[in-house]
Amino acid sequence: MHSARTVALAAGFALLAAPAFAHAFLKTASPAVGSTVSQAPGQVMINFTEGVEPRFSTITVQNAQGTPVETGKPHLVGGDTHLAVALKSLPPGTYTVVWHATATDTHKTQGTFHFTVASK
């Protein structure tokens, strides 16, 4: 009886746990937002606050001259909240990531951030 009540209470609290956001916003990124990395990354990965649709989401990465440096289309990595795009071999410099996300409830969000590849 005691354990059944505990399970019921736990289930109730689990259901009560409020979600954080209702649209897909950037939660974390790799390379991190505004970071300087010593080694050029092979991809940019963004972890969103909710699931995104890869066919209708984009990640573009541009160098300081505005030239795109990503290769291929964005793809999901281990679940629908992580979207990544592969990159060419990046020389040192500052790069701009522009993302447009379409969440699974079809709402669109967008954002920009920078990262720097340090000189050797």
Binding site: E50, T104, H107
Partner: protein
């Protein structure tokens, strides 16, 4: 004043509202027929039962057809919003992509199939058992609406918000979707017997009103997030508008339940019937308006997200 910019614009809001309105009508008509009418029929002369049953079957069919068309229109609007196709041909190609590769499509397709299954089960002249099976299928199509909303996208498992939205949808269907069937019975049945239907509808309506109010409060609490967001955002203002319309609906329902419906058994039943028909018609119009406002709400950024958006 906040900026009202729903995702996808007016076409998407209207398509969504149209689809949801008719799906609520499907659920409401089937609930009305299954819950309210069986005992009501025992009070009616057989000459009255036939036209009422025929009317309910016909309205179910119309609701199913328009719900299906509404879902297709919504699919087209969402596709245009997501893919921004350059040509009609591109749009057609993108429709298939949206339907088969997105979460939206993965929910919409079962909804369409459930509506088709409901129509097949009901057929031309459904038995009591077929009405009940139809009710389960039609209600399932409505409940799946949760899969299109913020709560489903936000949660990693079954959440309180999703349960709240499912209850809200069921209650909206049973109450608002049951108004036109009630109107049909009030029009066709003799006033004293129409009073029976109104009286049997009342407890269902009361339960639905309480569920809708409670679940709306939960959703508002979570999705708006703060008093500032309630007063400063388009989402908050739209939620307040919805609450205002709900208050009007409630007032009309109280008027119908405690004044107009009982008068059907009074000294001037035909006058009472005309007044009740007018009142339920107005109530239905406000119900439709509230569904459109809810569609707008679903396309706006919730107040809880505004700090991230800035």
């Amino acid at each position: 004043m906040p900026t009202f910019a729903p995702d996808g614009g007016a076409p998407l809001v209207l398509a969504r509202g149209f689809a949801v309105a008719f799906m609520l009508s499907v659920s409401g008509t089937l609930t009305f027929r299954t819950v309210v009418m069986p005992r009501t029929y025992s009070y009616l002369a057989s000459a009255t039962i036939g036209p009422i049953e025929h009317g309910l079957v016909r309205w179910s069919r119309i609701s199913l057809i328009f719900a299906g068309l509404g879902l297709c229109a919504w699919l087209a609007a969402v596709t245009f919003y997501l893919a921004t196709p350059a040509t009609i041909g591109d749009w057609a190609d993108d429709l298939w992509v949206v339907l088969t590769t997105t979460s939206f499509g993965h929910v919409l397709l079962p909804q369409i199939l459930l509506l088709v299954a409901t129509a097949v089960v009901l057929g031309r002249s459904p038995s009591a058992g077929r009405w009940r099976i139809g009710l389960v299928l039609g209600t399932a199509a409505v409940i799946l609406e949760v899969g299109h909303d913020h709560a489903y996208a936000m949660a990693t498992g079954l959440s309180f918000l999703e349960v709240s939205q499912a209850l809200h949808l069921w209650a909206a269907g049973a109450w608002l979707g049951g108004l036109l069937p009630l109107l049909l019975v009030v029009r066709l049945a003799p006033p004293p017997e129409a009073a029976v239907a109104a009286r049997r509808f009342a407890p269902l309506g009361q339960v639905c009103v309480m569920l809708m109010a409670a679940s709306a409060f939960v959703q508002g609490w979570i999705l708006i997030g703060s008093t500032k967001a309630l007063l400063d955002t388009a989402y908050g203002w739209t939620a307040l508008l919805k609450a205002g319309l709900f208050a009007v609906l409630l007032a009309l329902a109280v008027l119908n339940r405690y004044w107009l419906a009982p008068d059907l058994r009074g000294r001037h039943p035909d006058l009472a019937r005309r007044r009740l028909i007018r009142s339920v018609s107005v109530e239905t119009c406000f119900g439709l308006l509230i569904v459109l406002v809810a569609a707008m709400l679903s396309q706006l950024m919730p107040g809880m997200d505004m700090s991230m958006a800035r």
